[in-house]
Amino acid sequence: MIGSLESKVPSGVIDQKWKSHRDHSRLVNPNNRRKFDVIVVGSGLAGGSAAATLGELGYRVKCFCYQDSPRRAHSIAAQGGINAAKNYQNDGDSIYRLFYDTIKGGDFRSREANVYRLAEVSNLIIDQCVEQGVPFAREYGGLLANRSFGGAQVSRTFYARGQTGQQLLLGCYQALCRQMTAGTVQMYPQTEMLDLVLVNGHAKGIITRCLRTGKIERFAGDAVVLATGGYGNVFYLSTNARGCNVTATYRAYKRGALFANPCFTQIHPTCIPQSGDYQSKLTLMSESLRNDGRVWVPKRKEDCPKSPNEISESDRDYYLERKYPSFGNLAPRDISSRAAKEVCDEGRGVGPGGRGVYLDFSDAIKRLGEDVISERYGNLFEIYHKITGEDAYHVPMRIYPAVHYTMGGLWVDYNLMSNIPGLHVIGEANFSDHGANRLGASALMQGLADGYFVLPYTLPNYLAGQMGKRPSTEASEFAQAESEVRARVTKLLSVNGNRSLDSIHRELGFLLWNQCGMARNAAGLKDALSKIPKLREEFWRNVKVPGTNEDFNQSLERAGRIADFLEFAELMCLDALERDESCGGHFREEHQTPDGEALRDDERFAAVFAWEFQGANGTVNRPKLHREPLHFETVHLTQRSYK
């Protein structure tokens, strides 16, 4: 049973849709706003900005996060920047161009109207953040500076050293703090959502577990907003924080929310290569480094073990510049990642295990001086030095792709509402704006667009008809959901087997990285689909979760998240198998052009794949596929070329 897959995109020409939608959206009058309780799960850029803005408007907001403070959400780790179509550089940028670059970067698998709206509100975000005191980089005249980023030929990225995500999140956190002081937002840190509660088919509450005490609680609201980020940690190793997980969105999926394009994951080209099995995460080096760094590997395999400074210019293969002369080192992420994999597969990779390529700054240092490079990327060079013990001012960095972002997420309409009435999904947790590949500096833009400037306008379309319909937490639906959550916790603690959580999660991650990573094929995906249920069965038979529920129990937290990853992984592989084309980050080896680029099949796959959970009593059956056809009224579908 699902609602319709109607996108609710307004009619009219593309640059009038959002205006006309706002003009005709419903409103909630200021005196009534305080009668609505809005539950926001997640306090990163999307959740934090939504909670602060809804609080500012007068709604009563309850905001939940698993971290000990909303200031620590993983948005904080974004380094490079945030895009906006300000055209401060006078280099030909416009809202249309930002829109077009984003659609094209996503390989024509996102919804036009949503992306256009994103580009439209991008400028407001910069205004808002500057006013909050975000210290964006400036030029000597005191005006804002920009840098260029992958997938664009204009310079439209605003940045705060290599800590743009941190500064934007702190701006948003401070706005949230202001509302907490004003009493409109109540914050619940160290509290994890474990289930969504539906009453009469509407999302009206959540069940949570307090991570400090283990207390399981019910919260009712007039609407629920999920801003719980992406699921990159399904791969075990990713650039995500340790705590990032799929639990909130997956459990909403199990309650009937459609999960869209789960196989669209982004492998970021510039991460520090893995050095051993003990490793708990991978660290990203901002893509902005590719502005001044040149990517290369030795032309000959025999040169790989040599020190890079001993390899002469003529023996180096600057493969991105060679293959993509017009974008060069700034080719989009999916293309750059695959190119790195390709040269390593040829045996020309460098560093331990041969899984690495050089990112070399020597030309830029010669041209601009070490000071300028240090000013632009100093903290990134420091991070690199800490982790590897190497000095990138004198020896080229070694980089390799790593899982970084997930474009897939819960399906939402133009109002950012899922197919479950009342359940809204924003930021990385939804699927809507990045298609099959996200461009650099667009995640921060989307998170803040959704929270500051979209949801506050679209949420009233739902709330206006919901006055007085908030159920009591005594309703039987809450009791039922709570008892299911308790049963699951008890079950996790009672397995008492012989395998550690990490060993199972690592095994899952390894399987996915090989079969559902940078390159995928039908045989590999079928292999993964046959192995995942066995691993899941192994988990529930043989995992060891120490401790009790009524305690600060980090093992139990992780166990619940890994259990969800073990189910979600299957959905991801199924989606990858079903999408029998290549597009963006989803590269099916069966579908490539003669020169190895992704080959789309617009005839059959210019559509969103939205999956409906099928299963009961703890079993997972094959989910049902719904398709939302993508209509391109403004742009022409073309073979994506960055040559």
């Binding site: 900005s49 602060a52 500012e56 971290q67 000990d68 403070s69 909303p70 200031r71 620590r72 993983h74 904080i76 780790a77 300000k86 407001l124 205004d127 808002q128 953040c129 500057v130 006013e131 909050q132 005191g133 210290p135 964006f136 980089a137 400036r138 005191g142 005006l143 804002l144 705060a160 050293r161 800590q163 941190q166 500064q167 401070q174 706005a175 703090c177 907490m180 002081t181 924080a241 340790r242 051993g276 003990y278 490793q279 708990s280 995460k281 660290t283 990203l284 991070i383 800490k386 982790i387 013990g389 400037f453 012989n498 550690s500 959580l501 990490d502 060891k544 120490p546 305690d551 600060f552």
Partner: protein, 251 residues
């Protein structure tokens, strides 16, 4: 590599804690100290013992979640950097490593190495923001900000909110934390309308949370993973004095 660990274990705030010895064997020098603890924990869990609770999240030095005092120093010996950026190659093989939580009156222990730092959030809630409603901001380039001011603001704004400053301070003072936020906003024109009330409210909140005062020991600056300069404390003192004078004069 092998290490002898001495780790603080404490069930909760009400019970007494104690040091417990552990062996960490066969650890890669390229592992971070948190990854070393992961390995110890994985082995403990399989033996049926309770793993050591410790906080971490981003594991790349920016979220400010990790909070370990290692061999007596907040975040350990490799400054500047958070504990998650401390790699085992910094230690000698066979070395004895003592790990405790961040110790400060205002950071009560939750369990083992995990402390409650919500006091820092409450200092920001008191006034560490600009009251800027979404939708009402002027065009971003309408107010030029001298690059120098913007750069200094950024240096202060880089604080990751970990609380190492208070943990390292003999007075358990959160002056560096508070100074960073006050300075960040005081250096920008957008922060000016609330400049006077902000500093008064934040300093009051800092005192109310039980954080101590600054006596210029500079331990905070020495351990700060974000390299926040103690000169911002001087800025805080100037801002505070200015605000007190202005408010006494009724301005």
């Amino acid at each position: 590599m092998n290490f002898k660990l001495k780790i603080w274990r404490q069930q909760n705030r009400e019970t007494r804690g104690k040091f417990v010895d552990y062996e960490a064997t066969d650890i890669s020098p390229a592992a971070s100290i948190l990854e070393m603890l992961d390995i110890v924990n994985e082995r403990l869990a399989l033996k049926g013992e309770e793993p050591i609770a410790f906080d971490s999240d981003c594991r790349e030095g920016i979220c400010g979640t990790c909070s370990l005092t290692i061999n007596g120093e907040a975040h350990g010996p490799d400054h500047p950097g958070a504990a998650c950026e401390l790699y085992m190659r910094q230690f000698r093989d066979g070395e004895k490593i003592t790990i405790q939580p961040f110790r400060a009156r205002s950071f009560p222990i939750i369990k083992d190495l995990v402390v409650d730092r919500s006091g820092l959030d409450r200092i920001v809630q008191a006034g560490g923001f600009v009251s800027a409603r979404a939708g009402s901001a002027p065009e971003a380039n309408s107010i030029p900000v001298p690059k120098h001011d913007s750069d200094v603001a950024m240096e202060a704004a880089a604080c990751i909110g970990c609380g190492a400053c208070a943990a390292a301070c003999p007075n358990a003072s959160a002056m560096l934390f508070t100074a960073a936020k006050v300075s960040h906003l005081a250096f920008l024109p957008q922060g000016h309308p609330e400049r006077t009330s902000r500093v008064l409210k934040m300093v009051n909140a800092m005192d109310a949370e039980g954080f101590g005062n600054c006596t210029n020991t500079y331990e905070c600056e020495a351990v700060c993973p974000a390299e926040i300069s103690a000169s911002f404390i001087a800025k805080l003192n100037r801002e505070y004095t200015r605000a007190v004078l202005l408010s006494r004069a009724g301005e």
